[in-house]
Symmetry: C4
Subunit: 213 residues, 4 copies
Amino acid sequence: MNKYITEFIGTFFLVLTVGLTSGMNALAIGSALMVMIYAGGHISGAHYNPAVTLAVYIRKRISLGDALIYMGCQFAGGLIAALVVSLFMHLPEVADQSTMNTGKAIMAELFGTFALAYVVLNVATAKGNEGNSYFGLAIGFTVFAMASALGQFSGGAFNPAVAVGLIVMNIFEGIKIWIYLLGCFGGAAIAAVVFNLNNPAEKTPAPPEAMID
Amino acid sequence: MNKYITEFIGTFFLVLTVGLTSGMNALAIGSALMVMIYAGGHISGAHYNPAVTLAVYIRKRISLGDALIYMGCQFAGGLIAALVVSLFMHLPEVADQSTMNTGKAIMAELFGTFALAYVVLNVATAKGNEGNSYFGLAIGFTVFAMASALGQFSGGAFNPAVAVGLIVMNIFEGIKIWIYLLGCFGGAAIAAVVFNLNNPAEKTPAPPEAMID
Amino acid sequence: MNKYITEFIGTFFLVLTVGLTSGMNALAIGSALMVMIYAGGHISGAHYNPAVTLAVYIRKRISLGDALIYMGCQFAGGLIAALVVSLFMHLPEVADQSTMNTGKAIMAELFGTFALAYVVLNVATAKGNEGNSYFGLAIGFTVFAMASALGQFSGGAFNPAVAVGLIVMNIFEGIKIWIYLLGCFGGAAIAAVVFNLNNPAEKTPAPPEAMID
Amino acid sequence: MNKYITEFIGTFFLVLTVGLTSGMNALAIGSALMVMIYAGGHISGAHYNPAVTLAVYIRKRISLGDALIYMGCQFAGGLIAALVVSLFMHLPEVADQSTMNTGKAIMAELFGTFALAYVVLNVATAKGNEGNSYFGLAIGFTVFAMASALGQFSGGAFNPAVAVGLIVMNIFEGIKIWIYLLGCFGGAAIAAVVFNLNNPAEKTPAPPEAMID
């Protein structure tokens, strides 16, 4: 139960920061993710992102049951954060992403989430990186770097729970949700496949303590 | 005695930075907190914040007597820093927070201080995080992220000693002090309760060397 | 094979970030390098830069064969990134570096790449720094600091694969390539010589596990 | 000899970054210091600052002879950097600090250098902090935070070698050198005394390997 609460809290503060700094403070958003990862990593692994959970599942470090509960908690955290943001701020009446190019947006989410999941799998689950102190810094600043480079094309979610939160806040259009589901889950899945191919030594079954279930 | 001096020095430089960069340099403020935490953590635990000390007390890692002395040193550090700021700068004649929405300000301080105390308890007191090198980075950048997201609603103290310092500098109104006391101590207390519930394995009595008394 | 793919991926995301944030976001570029170093360091050593590979070769931590393959993968990563950037953005019709002073540009690339290779050799290959958690932070933020100081004179590549990527994007002029080859490889070679002279205790043959081949 | 070269190189790149980003990029300057500390710490202790060397001498971690040679190398690094900056840029014909308030400038240098030396002694020389990975981050970001808070009053040197470099670049006035000597050496000396008083357990003679001589 503790790990589920941890996923909820971490995703809540991530999406709260995204919503309240919507004027594009990518450094604050990356930092919010970083600090929540350092706080919750020892309890839940600190995914805070359904696409990351998918990647960890493909890499066989979380059971299917827990992966689904994690995703539920992450979407719930994003939704509740969106409601809290609406208490703080007037949100737009209607979302408007009409100037967004669909192809570029999908590519942006694909590349950004690939980078994010690739970094997560390497810094937080690979044997060669055990016991490091930089996992949160690396993951949080991946979001900062990718949002700085790719955010202009898609809004820079790289996380379906963030995308859903932004839809509830009328910042993203609901009808565009498929772009984020496709881009984020697709990018993360490709990263997991690349990681598995590129780290054959990691293919052995996880020791029980490395497995979330 | 050493730990009390350490709390004084750390809070002094935190509030000095808050006062002299009042034009909103959240990154400098978070960095000032980070560096003082790295400098003083090995001596006092580096709270520099009465709300954090309350959270550590609820989590049973500091004695009541020491908690009260810590808070005294922190308020003293904030006060002296405010006086030093007044030597450097012309301060406003009267504070004016008339445009601040009370409900939003309380919520902002509650959420921000909750996040701060939640991160502190996890990165600096949990067994699963022993010996890490990121505790200062995580705590300092929590203040940066929360100030970026929530500072617009309350001024972003997340720390009663900072709030008192800003009142002495005529940046916050004295009559609004209850907002910061309620928000900061409330948020920190909730974080400590959540931490205790969410970390049952940490409930065992602290080993003597982990206890401040 | 894994290390070659890692070099390709890391350089790809570095040059992608350079291209898409060309409006000078040195912090995002340094962060992109940092996160890719943390992700790939345990597999390939995370050079992502032919000049760094040259320095590591002079310092005798990579075989000649591997050094050449590394450089090939890095240039390929930079080229593919440039093509991807061209899918996202309208690139300039023709490059224009006519206001660039050649002497200053060479000096800027020399000093910047010297600093970069000097930091890499010390934090990532010296015995006195084994097992640290800061190698990625130090290397990534060297690029940030040097780009902030020297980027105004040369564009701030400090990396021949970045320079080639920027030439393909029509941001640098192809005819100026020699400036970057001379400045970057020259600066890195000098750094390696200085490192070897200044670290006599490191001169012993590398233990097999520290050698890339 | 290696440690002297290391002090020269580190101070050179610090002052080079100060000179070339004089438009106030405190984050780049703090980062330049950070990366040079991570690169050179294992060789020389990475002072790069005569005031820090004085503090380390008072704390009895460097011999008098080495302290003097360190300071010489640091001033030389600052001077050569100033000359290199003059090759890159048109410098002002004459320095002008006529609007600077002398009292505030001394106070600013005193407080800033106190904070810097206090952080250095704690993170880099105290037993309670051995083997950490954050020493460079803490020291570099102290300069960033203090320059952001106090730089407006004195220019924010916190380092006599930086002050001398800026005088050679005609950014500081030569006649004002005493402000920086007094403020920087004074602040560092006070920090060393406070550290010694506040860390009685550290008073035992340094083990030979912790002593620079």
